[in-house]
Structure formats: structure tokens, C-alpha cells
């Protein structure tokens, strides 16, 4: 005999504004098998949970339906409350009255009626629920960190320092990411490399960190605590054990005119190369696309000059399988190429560059050794115009969001220029100055007041070349409100920060969600900023949204702490919502006929065979058996089973039928 309690939540006004919650509670109270029904403003709050616990005890409830938000949000909350009141947690179900009803419909009688229907279906389901018990699985205490920028570096060091193993995978030949390309950092103007490179070395030397550069994730299977990752180690064409990083090969390589990625095309590199002198590991790779030997079959100069014989032209990509318990995604961001803005002349005029290129010009390790010289003729520019929001906050042609870092780095760029070229003049066209952050506003003020950077509030409409000057046409929208024309020597575009080109494919490989801009989605925008919707996979840094260094480092440490929490237990509880093959009394034993269609359909290789024997040990029947450690509860086998012998616990055929019938029996 069912004694079910129904608890309808107002969710503040989220549900009650469009659904008549009191009527839903009242209607639920009339249903057969419902012993208690009520509504309350915040069911998830402490008084709300107490109300559920009390009702269970006072009314001897053996099932609970909470009509509130999505189970994604609060199912664990309510199941835990039920457990504390002595009820098996799997006897508690949620009717999603918010995402599935109040948020998507206007206030009306039909909306309330739909809420009642949703509750009724769940009541019918709970009547058939059976107590279930969590499955314990061991945790593999090794973390996989994808991306070796400052986010991946920080997360790796934190996890490794807590005593766990870390595998750090980086797609480029060196770790360091965008931060290694930067000159000075705002708001303190400390040199980016000076604060980053020691951490890169620490990564390389940490006994708990295994570094895999020039490698990418190929495949990820399994689930929290027990992932199986396949990593593609791209062929570096060198034997890393033999190579001592002497650099002879990179100086002798005859192919010297390849635009350097590290120097954003402002400098050149060779075909066998180390991206920058402070690279970690400081060993070269051969860029097959540009190597004469790989392209034309002739050269092999590097092999001839290598003193240790470390060159391996026949090396092939290697696939490595790894067992890991958690994954941190720290793949960073990219800069939008401003070619979609022909009015700015990027790509047409050499002296129109991006902010990242300016970083290289201002950096002591850059192509000009830190002197600000324009790319076309190497002259020191007397006038620079900086264009903020060159792509950001532009729904028509760029991206609608704010890239967040540009206001600050543009102020920094102008400041660095003024420090290096004292007689120079700098102008910044901006929409708004967004300098929210510790010491950020003060930094921008300093640029304006002390370094006399000219801030012009308005947009640039056109950049064109005339008599060797870049004419920047724009508008000053403040008091003077008039068109402005500046004859500049160089123009720097603060181009938008966008997701990495490979982000979407990576997200699909890992089954994590991503937004319409291909940034990875956090599980909850406020309360779960480093988790993804896939348990055991965490986010760090600008792969989630554009971020500056302090924010990236904080998030990386946050993600690391989530991994450490996961690794603090030896076993992990998993929901028992997995497939089971039925068993019945002799002489049937099971309705399974042993056709093993289910095994061929299972995407997780979770189905094996079981031999049913009699007391003498003689095999009577061969049936399918689900490995609870591998089963993900997807239900594919249920659909394939010809004899209806497999069910998902908690979502059995019988329960689903009861729900559908309840919906169809609409009064």
C-alpha cells in the first residue's frame, strides 16, 4: 500500500508566478496512494527539507514526489533529505515543474493543469519504485590535465603537490600557452615570462607530473573515477632521450622563413624548431609541413649535424592509453583574426596589427627585443592608435560578448609604448572602459593621467593608407561630438577573444557541453563554475570564457581542489541506475534467452555472459550479465532485448508504462 508524500515548491516566484501551486498540491492530495500533500516557497531550503523529513516520519510515507526544479539541480538534495528521514533515497522522485513547465509557458489554466499532470505521472512511477543501493567503485587517483597554459600549469602543480599523479597534455611543442607570449602583465607591469617560466620548470621537474607535449586527446571513455583516455603523441621526429637540447639542428636548418607561431608571424622560425628559448621541454620538433625532407625527400641537415644522433625521420604518431580518475580541461582561447573587418585594413596594411602581436613587439623575447618598431619598415612609430572592442561587443560582425581582457591590456599597451617612446603619442578609441578588478581602475587612471594616453570615446570607422601614414577615421562621441582623423604610424586592434578552433570537437570527444560560442559550459553559472555537466571533468581558465591571468589561476586552483576532493576517497558511490538482467525462480531462472544482441549493442562493452548451474555444477543456462562497474545506464540494451529481460533499475519498462498511462488518463 503506497503512502506517498507530494511537496510542491514555489521556487520563489519561478514556479508560482505561472502555476497555481496551491491547486497542484490540492489536486495531488486527491490522487490514490497520496497520503500527504503540501506546497512551500523554497522546498530546497532548510525549513523545506525539514518539512519533508517530518512528513515522512509523521505519516509513515514510503514514497516522495517533489514538484520543483530539474532533477539536475536538486535531486541529490531531496534524496539526501529522504535518506536522513529513514527512507531509501531512490524512493524520492522529482516532477520538473520549473524547466518543463513554468519557465516555458505563460500563466494559464493549462499551465497549472500540465503541472498537475507532471506530478500525477511521477506519483504513479513512485508507486513502482524499489529501494536501490549505491554502487561503490574504486577511484583511479591520476588526473589528466589537457592544455599546458597557465591554467593547466597551475592545476597540475596543485594536484601534484597534494600527492596525486598528473598527466599534463599539451598540443604544442612547449607548455606556456598565451601567457608565455605576453610582455608585461597588468596591473603591476611585472614581466610575464619572469613569473611564468619558473612555474613551467617546476612542472617539468615535479616527480608527480608526467608531461606530454606535442600530444592531443584522441578519445575519452569511462566515467568519473575511472576514465580511459587515449592520447595521440604526435611524432616529434626526434628521440627525446638522446636529444640534449644543444640547438645545433635549429641553427643549421636551411628552411628559415616559416612565420613563427610564437611570434604571431612577426618573426621567423626554422622547420626543426623550439618555439622559444625558454621552452619546456627545451627540445625541438620537426614541423613536417614545412620540412624539405618530408616535403621533397631531400635535406637531412639536422641529422648530419646532431651530435647525439637523435633525429628520427621514421618516427610515427603513437597512441597511448591512460587510466585516469579525473580530467581538467584547460585548453585556453584564441584571438579572432580581424580579417572580417576590412575597414580596419588588417592583412592589407602591415602596420595594422593585433593586440597579441603588439605583446610580441613589446616583449624582451620578441622579434624586436622589446623595442616598439613597426613591422613594415622597422621605424619607431611616433603615433599609435589602439582600437578597443575590435570584434567584441559587435553582434553584427564580431562576437556579442565582452572579451573582458582588452580594456586592461590596451591600457597596458599604451602605457608600455609611452614608457619606451617618450615623445610618442598614443590614442585609444573605446566604447566603455571596463576596469573592474583589484587595482585595475587605478591602472587605467595612471595611463590617462601620468602617461598621457589619449582616450577617445567612440568607434573607428575606417583605416586607410595615404602618403605612408595610416589615416584613422573615427568619432569622438563625448562633449565635442565630432569626427576625428588621426594620422598614425601604427594601429593596434584589440581583437576579440574566441574559443579555440578545436574546442567543439574536443567537447564532443569528452561529452561535455559547450555554449554557442564554443566555450565549454560550466555545470552551474554561479555555484558550479569549475565543474562540467559530466561528472569528473572540470574546467580551468579561458576555455570556459575569456579571462585574465589572476582569474584563470584562481579557477585552475578551484578545479584542482575539486580533483583533490574526488581523490580524497578510495571509493566512489555511483547511482545504481544501471541495467540488470532479470532472474526468476526455477525452472525458468531468467527470461533471457542468451541471444546476446544486448552485448553487441552496448556502447560500453558492459555486458558479458553468466552461466547458471545446478547444485551439481552442471550448466543449465547461459544468460547475459551486466557489469555494474562499466554500465552507464544508457538503456540501449533494453531497447534491443527481444524477450524484455533487461531493465534499467529505477527506470523499468513497468515504471515508464505507468508514467505514460498516467499521462494518457488525463481527466
Amino acid at each position: 500500500m503506497s503512502k506517498i508524500g507530494v511537496f510542491i515548491c514555489h521556487c520563489g516566484e519561478n514556479i508560482s508566478a505561472t502555476v497555481d501551486v496551491a491547486r497542484v498540491a490540492e489536486a495531488a492530495g486527491q490522487l490514490e496512494g497520496v497520503a500527504f500533500s503540501t506546497d512551500y516557497k523554497y522546498m530546497c531550503s532548510d525549513p523545506g527539507q525539514t518539512m519533508i523529513k517530518q512528513a515522512i516520519k509523521e505519516n509513515g510515507l514510503n514514497g516522495v514526489v517533489v514538484g520543483s526544479c530539474s532533477p539536475r539541480m536538486h535531486e541529490p538534495t531531496f534524496r539526501k533529505a529522504c535518506q536522513e528521514a529513514g527512507l531509501n533515497p531512490f524512493m524520492c522522485e522529482m516532477a520538473n515543474l520549473r524547466e518543463h513547465c513554468s519557465w516555458v509557458h505563460d500563466k494559464s489554466e493549462a499551465t497549472t493543469q500540465k503541472a498537475i499532470d507532471l506530478v500525477r505521472t511521477l506519483v504513479e512511477k513512485v508507486k513502482l519504485n524499489k529501494p536501490l543501493f549505491s554502487i561503490q567503485v574504486p577511484v583511479t587517483k591520476t588526473a589528466l590535465v589537457i592544455g599546458g597554459g597557465i591554467a593547466g600549469i597551475q592545476a597540475s602543480l596543485d594536484i601534484a603537490s597534494a600527492g596525486h599523479q598528473v598527466i599534463l597534455v599539451e598540443k604544442d611543442p612547449s607548455i606556456g600557452g598565451h601567457m608565455s607570449q605576453l610582455s608585461e602583465t597588468f596591473p603591476t607591469l611585472d614581466c610575464s615570462q619572469c613569473i611564468l617560466t619558473p612555474r613551467m620548470v617546476e612542472v617539468a621537474q615535479h616527480p608527480n607530473i608526467k608531461l606530454m607535449t606535442y600530444a592531443e586527446l584522441e578519445k575519452l571513455e569511462g566515467s568519473i573515477g575511472n576514465f580511459k583516455a587515449t592520447i595521440r603523441k604526435k611524432a616529434k621526429s626526434i628521440d627525446e632521450d638522446l636529444c640534449n637540447g644543444c640547438g645545433t639542428c635549429t641553427t643549421k636548418c636551411p628552411t628559415k622563413k616559416i612565420p613563427s607561431e610564437f611570434n604571431t608571424g612577426l618573426g621567423m622560425r626554422t622547420a626543426i624548431y623550439v618555439p622559444f628559448p625558454q621552452a619546456v621541454p627545451n627540445k625541438p620538433v620537426i614541423d613536417k609541413e614545412n620540412c624539405s625532407y618530408y616535403q621533397k625527400g631531400k635535406c637531412k641537415v639536422c641529422e648530419k649535424v646532431c651530435p647525439t644522433g637523435a633525429i628520427r625521420f621514421d618516427q610515427e604518431d603513437e597512441l597511448v592509453e591512460l587510466e585516469v580518475g579525473a580530467v581538467v580541461i584547460a585548453t585556453g582561447f584564441d584571438i579572432m583574426q580581424p580579417s572580417g573587418f576590412p575597414e580596419y585594413g588588417y592583412g592589407k596594411y602591415k602596420d595594422v596589427i593585433t593586440g597579441l602581436q603588439f605583446e610580441r613587439l613589446a616583449s624582451a623575447s620578441g622579434p624586436t627585443l622589446g623595442e616598439i618598431r613597426r613591422p613594415s619598415d622597422g621605424k619607431i612609430p611616433e603615433k599609435i592608435v589602439f582600437v578597443a572592442c575590435a570584434g567584441s561587443r559587435d553582434p553584427a560582425k564580431g562576437v556579442p560578448y565582452c572579451s573582458k581582457i582588452c580594456c586592461m591590456y590596451t591600457a597596458k599597451h599604451a602605457m608600455l609604448y609611452q614608457h619606451k617612446v617618450h615623445h610618442g603619442k598614443s590614442y585609444i578609441f573605446y566604447m566603455d572602459i571596463r576596469a573592474a578588478g583589484k587595482n585595475y581602475e587605478e591602472f587605467v587612471r595612471r595611463a590617462i593621467v601620468e602617461d598621457e594616453v589619449n582616450y577617445i570615446r567612440g568607434r573607428v570607422s575606417k583605416v586607410y593608407e595615404e602618403n605612408g601614414k595610416l589615416i584613422v577615421k573615427g568619432v569622438d562621441t563625448l562633449l565635442s561630438a565630432k569626427p576625428v582623423e588621426i594620422e598614425a604610424d601604427m594601429v593596434v586592434l584589440a581583437s576579440a577573444a574566441v574559443a579555440n578552433p578545436g574546442a567543439e570537437a574536443l567537447a564532443q570527444k569528452m561529452h561535455v557541453s559547450y555554449d554557442s560560442y564554443n566555450f565549454f559550459s560550466e555545470a552551474h553559472p554561479k555555484l558550479k563554475p569549475v565543474e562540467t555537466n559530466t561528472a569528473g571533468i572540470f574546467l580551468a581558465g579561458a576555455c570556459q570564457a575569456p579571462k585574465d591571468i589572476p582569474e584563470t589561476v584562481s579557477q585552475a586552483s578551484g578545479a584542482a581542489s575539486k580533483v583533490i576532493i574526488l581523490f580524497s576517497k578510495d571509493e566512489l558511490s555511483r547511482d545504481p541506475l544501471i541495467a540488470v538482467v532479470n532472474r526468476s525462480p526455477a525452472p525458468v531462472f531468467s527470461t533471457c534467452v542468451g541471444c546476446f544482441m544486448c552485448a553487441s549493442a552496448c556502447p560500453y562493452q558492459a555486458i558479458g555472459e553468466e552461466l547458471i548451474t545446478n547444485r551439481q555444477g552442471k550448466v543449465i543456462k547461459k544468460v547475459a550479465k551486466v557489469n555494474p562497474g562499466l554500465c552507464q545506464g544508457c538503456g540501449t540494451c533494453v531497447a534491443f532485448c527481444r524477450s524484455k529481460s533487461i531493465d534499467i533499475q529505477g527506470y523499468s519498462n513497468e515504471q515508464m508504462c505507468a508514467e505514460v498511462i498516467a499521462l494518457l488518463n488525463h481527466e
Binding site: 572580417g340 573587418f341 576590412p342 585594413g345 575606417k462 583605416v463 586607410y464 593608407e465 595615404e466
Partner: protein
């Protein structure tokens, strides 16, 4: 082939040569442009500054007439008329309620489904594919293609990807044997309606356009908008006084350029109607 044709007021007045040259090249290409019956004002700048419904009803009536004459396409050569018609079509297809209101005012069937073409779209679709056979005297000169503001805008309606640096006119001019120069003033403002009220502003804005085109070696400016044409051509005294020098670069419609390249006489192309004499060194 029959295609609907909405001339608008300019083509029957100050820019008759645009009309003449367009009809002449269409005829050469074997296309009949059929002027729709009893068309009315597009509303121009005045209507949409004064009365929203009027600004939609006026163009909508023209669209409905073209539909009633069973036209699939309607060519609107004036950039301003085109903008009003295409904006009306866009707005009424987005807002069904508003379309109902306007349809009631029209008191005639109105589906709002006709395909509206500006002159460049018309040329690209119907004339360019035939140009190989029709070009008889290639225009071997440097030209500056000037688009102005309305041909490629607004971006969300026109779906143009390069509305800051359009190329469609340049491509057509290339096909005529001309050399379109690379210049930065393709979409700069000519001064538009200030032509009447503040002519000196037109002198300055159009002056910069004329100076840049001349400075970069263009021998003619090619346009596709009556407003642009009259500012660059008719307002040449204001331009000369702003620039403090006499500029003699001619301004021609793209349809005139095509007519000349097709070997039609300058009179068939309406060349004689300009203020700035057109003396192109067209061969032969």
C-alpha cells in the same frame, strides 16, 4: 523574360540617364523590364521620419501592385527606394501583426513574397552572365567604384558579408575590361540629403571622395545611386570650392558604363545629361 520595374521619382527626373541606360542594356540582353502600373512614392526620407504606418504602407502598396501583375522579381534601381521597399518587406515578414494592419490599409491582396532586386543584384543575376557576348568595346580605364551607404545596408537585412568593403560593382567593372582601383572611400557618406539644406557639407564630404578617387588615379567614379550621383556630379561647384581646385573626374552610373561597353552610343547611355562632362577614352 519579363521582370517588374519600379523606377521611383529620381529615375523620371534628375537621373533620367540612369533609367535610359538601364532600359537600354536590359533590351540588349533580351530582358523586358515592365514598369508596374500606378506606382507611388516609396515614402523616401520623409515618411519614416513622420509616420511609421505610412512609411510601410507606401512601399507595401508598390509590392502588392507588382504581385498583382504576377511578377516574381521587382527591380528597384534607386538605392533609397530599394532600401525602403526591402526594409518594408523585411519588417512585415518579421511582424505578422503589423502586416495584417498594413494589408487592411492597402485593401488589396498582399503576400509580401516578391523578390526585390537592387541594381547590382539585377546586374549580377541577369546581365553579368550574358556580358561575355555583349561587351564589344571594353572600358580600358581605371575606375573608382563608389557604393555609398544604402546599397549594401542594413547588414542584417542584406546579409552582406563585406558591407564595409563591398566588391560586387568592382567585379562587374572588371568584366567590362575596366580596372577598379583599391580605395578606402567606397562606402563613405556623400552628404546625402544635405544637398539641399547644407550644400557646403556635401561639398566637404563628397569633396573628400572625389579627391581620394582622383588621387589614386581613377579616371571615372562609378555609382549606382541617384543621390550619390547628384552629389558627386551636380554639386561639383561646392566640391571645387571646398577643395579649392577644379576637379574634372566624371561620375557615371554603372548601367551607363555597361551600355558604353556594349557599344551603345553615348546618347543611348544618357551621357550628355551630366553636369561634369564625360570624356572617357573608350577605345573606338
Amino acid at each position: 523574360m519579363k521582370i517588374g520595374f519600379y523606377p521611383g521619382c529620381s529615375l523620371t527626373g534628375s537621373s533620367r540617364e540612369y533609367n535610359e541606360s538601364l532600359l537600354a542594356i536590359a533590351k540588349e540582353a533580351g530582358i523586358e523590364l515592365v514598369e508596374i502600373n500606378d506606382w507611388n512614392c516609396c515614402g523616401a526620407t520623409a515618411a519614416h521620419n513622420l509616420n511609421k504606418e505610412l512609411s510601410l504602407s507606401l512601399p507595401a502598396r508598390n509590392l502588392a501592385i507588382a504581385e498583382s501583375e504576377e511578377m516574381d522579381e521587382l527591380v528597384v534601381p534607386c538605392a533609397a527606394c530599394f532600401n525602403r521597399l526591402v526594409m518594408t518587406q523585411h519588417e512585415l515578414s518579421e511582424k505578422k501583426d503589423l502586416k495584417k494592419v498594413i494589408s487592411e490599409k492597402l485593401q488589396m491582396p498582399f503576400k509580401n513574397e516578391i523578390r526585390i532586386l537592387n541594381v547590382l543584384q539585377f546586374l549580377e543575376k541577369h546581365i553579368v552572365p550574358r556580358l561575355d557576348q555583349l561587351v564589344k568595346s571594353p572600358l580600358e580605364i581605371d575606375v573608382a567604384c563608389y557604393y555609398g551607404c544604402l546599397l549594401v545596408r542594413p547588414q542584417n537585412v542584406m546579409k552582406s558579408e563585406r558591407f564595409e568593403d563591398p566588391m560586387s560593382m568592382d567585379t562587374i567593372m572588371q568584366k567590362l575590361g575596366a580596372n577598379p582601383i583599391d580605395w578606402p572611400f567606397k562606402t563613405e557618406c556623400c552628404g546625402a540629403g544635405f544637398s539641399i539644406s547644407k550644400t557646403e557639407i556635401v561639398g566637404e564630404l563628397s569633396g573628400k571622395i572625389v579627391r581620394n578617387a582622383t588621387g589614386r588615379g581613377a579616371k571615372a567614379i562609378v555609382v549606382a545611386c541617384p543621390m550619390c550621383h547628384s552629389n558627386l556630379d551636380m554639386r561639383r561647384p561646392a566640391i571645387d570650392s571646398y577643395l579649392n581646385m577644379k576637379m574634372d573626374i566624371p561620375v557615371i552610373y554603372i548601367t551607363q558604363a555597361i551600355a558604353l561597353a556594349m557599344g551603345l552610343t553615348p546618347r543611348q547611355a544618357g551621357i550628355q545629361r551630366h553636369f561634369v562632362p564625360v570624356n572617357l577614352t573608350v577605345n573606338r
